[in-house]
């Protein structure tokens, strides 16, 4: 079952088997959810976006020409749905003061040190992502999490390759700045509290 390709399930769905689509959802749900979450910044909305995207994919499957992979096509739907949703809501610029936690706060949640550090880093990344334009959040996610190249990202987002490089450069610079500042704040507050 797990060895069957996307194409196999697509053909099954087009042949009238709706259940075959559940395999496609199962295979791609985490990547779709992660992209939606990194762009919109909250789990409830991300779930809604991912579900809507699968709905759209199901409805338009007959128009999918298989020129790209199903994942690329689905990413495009998720990216557009998420960016449209974020654009439609009020802009909310976060300041570094609003990033409330450091690694020590996560340790109090009953997790071990390694898990706590990962949680802290993940929330810091999300915080930094929310401080860059929504299109760039998608680019960063596709480039760093999914490890896609500029050509593939261009296919998904419709942004030219050169523009992707420029946008990635700016987004990277801004996010790195935010992360460094948060880390400095973290070290400073831990020093003040006497934590080594």
């Amino acid at each position: 079952m797990g060895t069957k390709s996307d194409r196999y399930y697509i053909e099954q769905v087009l042949g009238g088997s709706m259940n075959a689509f559940s395999h496609l959802v199962d295979i791609h749900k985490d990547k779709a959810f992660n992209l939606a979450f990194r762009i919109c910044g909250n789990r409830e909305e991300a779930e809604e976006i991912a579900q809507d995207s699968f709905m759209k994919a199901y409805r338009s499957l007959k128009d999918f020409r298989m020129k790209s992979s199903f994942a690329t096509w689905l990413y495009r739907i998720v990216y557009n749905t998420a960016v449209s949703l974020v654009r439609s809501r009020k802009k909310n610029i976060l300041s570094l003061e609003e990033f409330p936690a450091d690694a020590v706060d996560f340790m109090s949640m009953g997790k071990n040190e390694e898990e706590s550090v990962l949680e802290y880093r993940n929330s810091l990344v999300n915080f930094a992502l929310q401080n860059i334009p929504e299109e760039d959040r998608g680019l960063i996610t596709l480039f760093y999490y999914e490890e896609l190249d500029a050509v593939e990202i261009s296919r998904i987002t419709g942004i030219s390759r050169n523009n992707i490089k420029v946008r990635l450069f700016r987004a990277r610079q801004k996010m790195a700045g935010i992360i460094r500042k948060a880390e400095m704040k973290n070290i400073y507050s831990n020093d003040q509290a006497g934590i080594k």
């Binding site: 749900k29 779930e47 490890e147 990277r172 992360i179």
Partner: protein, 135 residues
Amino acid sequence: MTRQELNDDELLRDFLNTGMTEKAPEGFTTKTMTRIRIESGLARERFPSGKKIPLISVVIMALLTAAAILVPAGETAGFGSSLLDKAKEPLSAIPSISDFPLPAISLPEWIPYAVAGILIFGVFDFALSRIFHRE
């Protein structure tokens, strides 16, 4: 890449590791498939009701046409004929076409019936579409 760019890239690679991708919530596939099933079911239900309207009209039209052809002229007695007479009453009040100085046109006999039929079924279609498309 400049030294600064390399540092930024390295920092982000360190923080954005692929192991920390957000996972879809539990039951996501089931919920999504339920939504798809419900929405496709609704779409399917909407389609036949839309098709019923012309179908009913066509059936009734066919029955009436068959009746008109099969029932010999002059045998429409009773309720049908009285209804036809009632319908003719207001028409008799309208001045005859021959009263107007228009060139004499000889139309086939069935034309007025066809026009009346189209009007009646137009109204009938409209009423049916209102019934079937009511949410």
